[in-house]
Symmetry: C2
């Protein structure tokens, strides 16, 4: 509505004096300062942020790119936005629906200076397509990846998965079935390594149960229960991709009258909201703090400082399914 010129006119000073009075930078006599502030108050003045952005070339706005908005993504988003707001940044959301062209739109927003930086929850596009955009501003990834210019705040799931396996071993389970996620993911590789090391450590036969890959949904978990019934009931415990799969197993088992953990044990991963309600043993990891670290990295790059990152740790949440 009213701009600084108007305020200056009303206060009987020049725009630059008004600017100084309002920003508190530079010399202004007490009297004029008073007048300017009074005029600003009276005529409901508020600086136009777009003008500021144009002038400074910076927006104090960050973009967050996610394929969808559910579960741990909203946790991450919440953590990121809170960290950002605390430092006076604002966050704009880009939901891609796993569509590469939408990812490109977010990258273009960076290029066109709508945001100062981007966090990717997940990449759909190939890295070589993304990488050139770092010249327009910092890009950080939650998804685990290795790239010179694109830092990632992932946690190596080797440790977390080992925690699950050790727990199952301590509880007496010896025929553990691994239910892995997408086979292309580095996380899956880490888990496979963890299992190999685990078997070596305790002298277990890794081939006693088959493993599954590319599992991720509740429905996958439900199917696993039927597989278990129809294939000799071999595994006595399942270490699963995530809580969704675990939840599918637990609820389907319940429907079929099976008993957990007597018939078989289930250990989830993520510690989502519903894990508590299902009394699901699971592995918790600090999504919030990963988000905080993502912001810290971005801020360090933007403000050319060097903010410390929080160390991150998995921990076991023991409930009723093991």
């Amino acid at each position: 509505m009213t701009n600084i010129k108007e305020i200056a006119r009303r206060a009987g000073v020049s725009p630059s004096t008004a600017s100084r009075a309002l920003s508190g930078k530079g010399y202004v006599s007490e009297e004029k300062k008073r007048k300017v502030l009074a005029a600003a108050e009276e005529f409901d003045y508020a600086p136009n942020l777009n003008a500021l952005s144009l002038k400074t070339g910076t927006t104090r706005r960050l973009g967050l790119v996610a394929p969808e908005f559910a579960e741990s993504v909203s946790l991450f988003t919440g953590g990121f936005v809170r960290a950002a707001e605390e430092a006076g940044y604002t966050v704009t959301l880009f939901i891609t629906g796993y569509d590469k062209s939408k990812e490109l739109e977010a990258l273009e927003a960076l290029r066109r200076k709508q945001v100062d930086a981007l966090v990717f929850v997940l990449f759909q596009s190939e890295l070589p397509l993304i990488a050139p955009y770092v010249k327009y501003g910092p890009i950080v990834s939650w998804q685990r990846l290795v790239h010179e210019r694109i830092p990632s705040v992932f946690m190596d799931q080797y440790d977390g998965y080992m925690l699950a396996l050790e727990h199952l071993y301590a509880k007496g389970y010896r025929r553990i079935c691994n239910v892995y996620g997408a086979s292309t993911r580095l996380n899956t590789q880490s888990r496979i390594e963890a299992f190999a090391d685990f078997c070596r450590k305790y002298g277990l036969d890794p081939g006693v149960c088959p493993s599954f890959q590319n599992m991720g949904d509740t429905e996958d978990g439900e199917r696993l229960v039927h597989w278990w019934l129809e294939n000799g009931r071999i595994p006595d415990a399942f270490a699963t991709t995530n809580d969704r799969v675990a939840a599918g197993m637990v609820s389907e088992a319940r429907r079929l009258g099976l008993r957990i953990p007597e018939d078989f044990a289930v250990c989830g991963f993520d510690n989502l909201d519903f894990a508590h309600m299902l009394d699901l043993t699971t592995i918790h990891y600090p999504v919030d703090e990963q988000a905080g670290n993502a912001f810290a990295i971005i801020r360090s790059q933007i403000e050319e400082t060097d903010l410390p990152l929080k160390p991150l740790k998995f921990h076991l949440v023991e409930r009723a399914t093991t």
Copy 2:
């Protein structure tokens, strides 16, 4: 990086010709157009959105204000962002943590033209404080409220709650206990009315069970089970605030060895993610489409058109707890 002036110089034309060539508006000879586009390509030109925003006074950016990101709020957010992106708008997030001053920051963002409009998931502040800001841009609410200038996309829970009650009645339950949410909410009032009408319709005594108010957490649900055990096991069914309370009841009952629905029935509300996993009977309502309507209202106001709103309906999701 490179601006339109630079491109014009490289292409040997004036900035305005370059602008016309790039935007496709106005007359430009084919040859110069080609040259300009080639130069733009070569020198990696991308229009600066801040300059555009300054010039047009509009950002094509909307603000979404929520106290936190969990459950149905993330559903709503997802729906809203998708609708907005489809129409070429972008969404900036404001998380208040139930802090009024944070709400004010979002309102100030509107005033300072960082966003063109705001959606509030929930108001913490008093309405008279919010209302004046509509002069800076459209404000829409998800929360139910009545205000001349601030439309709301709420659904009257009378219908939804009646659906739950009718279902419980049809299943043979006659001693229904109402577990309400915050007593100040209009939704609670609607539910109370629904229950009164329901009792009248079937000639039931509304006082056969006590009602509860201000219930909303899982823990509240857990406590209710203990109340039921210690107070004569009177109600044969619970109609609850939301799925959280219902989930608390169901899982606590399970832990205590009670049987649902034999000992008592439970009907939730919201149909959240975990309702499926707990096999919870509940009332579903289309959060997504409410979000779509919120966006439609905003867009109608901004673009001065008149977009149609989708009609919204509750429906019962019958599962194993009734």
